[in-house]
Amino acid sequence: MPDTRRITGPEETQSPFAFCPQFLAQSAEAFSDGKRRDGRKAEADHRPVFLKAGLISQAKGSAFAELDKTKVVCAVYGPHEVARREDFSMQGQISCEVKFAPFSCRVRRQHVQDGREKDLSTQLLEALEPAVRLDSFPKSQVDVFVTVLENDGSALSAAITCASLALADAGIEMYDLVVACTARIHGTSILVDPSFSEENLKTVSGEKPGGQVTLGFMPSLRQVSALCYHGDTDLDVLSQATQRCQDTCHKLYQVVQDTLVKSVEQRMNNS
């Protein structure tokens, strides 16, 4: 029963940031004093990465990933019976759900999944499916839940890396780990692992807006499992950006592997 004595607010609300010119005025400059906006020196520099596996005790497997301020946590459950099974299938299923925490962005996110989150969920599924041995759990399903705790850019790539680590932690059989990297194309520069402010750089008028590309990569197999791009650019620039993402993925691979080894060692010591 709603409180009738209280004046109800308007049905639709807008974020105050939309009316605040300081926040609206995005810069068009990617570099100031030869440094990127968050102090990184080069275009190809990745932010400091922190990874941890096995932090949620109830889940079969879990992982936490941090790209400086971007924080993502992932939990994996299953394999379990498919709830609403339609056809018999020798292949297992993965279900992915990406959710931004209500406090993760500048604007408050709703509790229900919105269009962008659904899109990210499909992209995550696309990235993971080629890496997982689906035939190892026929008739069953694995659930992957990703929550973005703080979004400071490159949330999708953080989610992919984190989810593949969590799957490995859960002991789901995989061909390889999936490591992901995002690059922002802005004018002539290709910024690896963009922060939120770099993702929202303003386009210089008369120039192509560039855009953003995310690459999911399986380094040992040398296979691309996800590639998603939107923007407007020439093919050469796009290939250059994907190449740079690929190089970065190779570097990140070592970190992910080390984390996995560490978590296995820890588990051995505990038992």
Partner: protein, 291 residues
């Protein structure tokens, strides 16, 4: 997606054909199927197009409506995409069954049209922060015969080309409500410039080769595909990899090259056809589904 059940032998047949650059319907790997396109056939839309690509049938309607711009982007109008997979196409789409495919198509269209250079949305704004045109682009999938994404994007571009927005003048006097003045002349309309709008090109990896415009049977053999939105000038506005398989980085580069080349050609041909149809003017008789 509508399922086609193929036996292993049938799949092998298709894969071997593609290896030899000779597909089951006689095409080469980079060849499109016959396309039928008609625009302006729905009288209560601002623009419409119907595309038949072999057995794939798509109907697109564009409706222009006056609305308030989004507060974070007060100076631009916008495009809103909506895809409906009709149960006519496949019984599986009944009720909410087609929603998954519809969302996927919708997301790709949003992605392809996300860049500001693709379509001049700022010209759709009539009064900053108060009034702008919103173009509702509604895609209706009526029959599935493979390569739905390409077909939908081509039909969308054609419908946008066909779109006629009534010319409206905004008058505002001191301290008074804004007044809209709509032109009395039905031929006094604004058209959209779609020369930079993209169409989607799907490259399906089958065996060690990749093909464009896969039929339904070929799609059943395909493990991974790369969808890219290409404009007439050859720039790329979106790419998405789809499917359970993964791709080699080298083959991605190769696929993108092919995609760019074929995509450019499709765009050029499309604009040419649309202009040709336009020149026939009022003498052209719309046939719609009666043919």
């Amino acid at each position: 997606m509508v399922d086609v059940n193929l036996s292993e032998a049938e799949k092998t047949f298709i894969v071997h054909g593609i290896q030899d650059n000779f597909r089951e319907d006689g095409r080469s790997n980079e060849e499109y199927r016959q396309m039928d396109l008609e625009t302006g056939l729905m009288s209560n839309t601002s623009g419409s197009a119907r595309l038949r690509l072999a057995n794939t049938e798509i109907l697109v309607g564009v409706k222009a409506e006056l609305e308030e711009p989004k507060p974070e982007k007060p100076d631009v109008g916008r495009l809103e995409f909506f895809v409906d997979c009709s149960a006519n196409a496949a019984p599986e789409f009944e009720g909410r069954g087609g929603e998954e495919l519809a969302t996927e198509m919708m997301n790709l269209l949003y992605r392809a049209y996300s860049a500001s250079t693709v379509l001049d949305v700022s010209s759709l704004c009539l009064q900053s922060g108060k009034l702008c045109w919103v173009l509702y682009v509604d895609v209706l999938l009526l029959e599935c015969g493979g390569n739905l994404f390409d077909a939908a994007s081509i039909a969308v571009k054609a419908a946008l080309f066909n779109t006629k927005i009534p010319s409206v003048k905004v008058r505002q006097e001191e301290g008074e409500e804004t007044e809209l003045e709509v032109s009395d002349d039905p031929y006094d309309v604004r058209r959209l410039d779609v020369s930079a709008a993209p169409t989607v090109l799907t490259l399906s990896k089958i065996g060690h080769n990749h093909i464009v415009d896969a039929s339904q049977k070929e799609e059943a053999c395909c493990l991974a595909r790369l969808m890219m939105a290409v404009t007439a000038s050859g720039s790329v506005t979106a790419t998405v990899k789809e499917g359970r398989g993964s791709l080699d980085p080298d083959s991605i580069t190769e696929m993108m090259q092919v995609g760019k080349r074929v995509g450019k050609a499709v765009n050029e041909k499309l604009l040419e056809t649309l202009k040709e149809e336009e020149q026939k003017g009022l003498k052209r008789k719309t046939v719609g589904f009666l043919r």
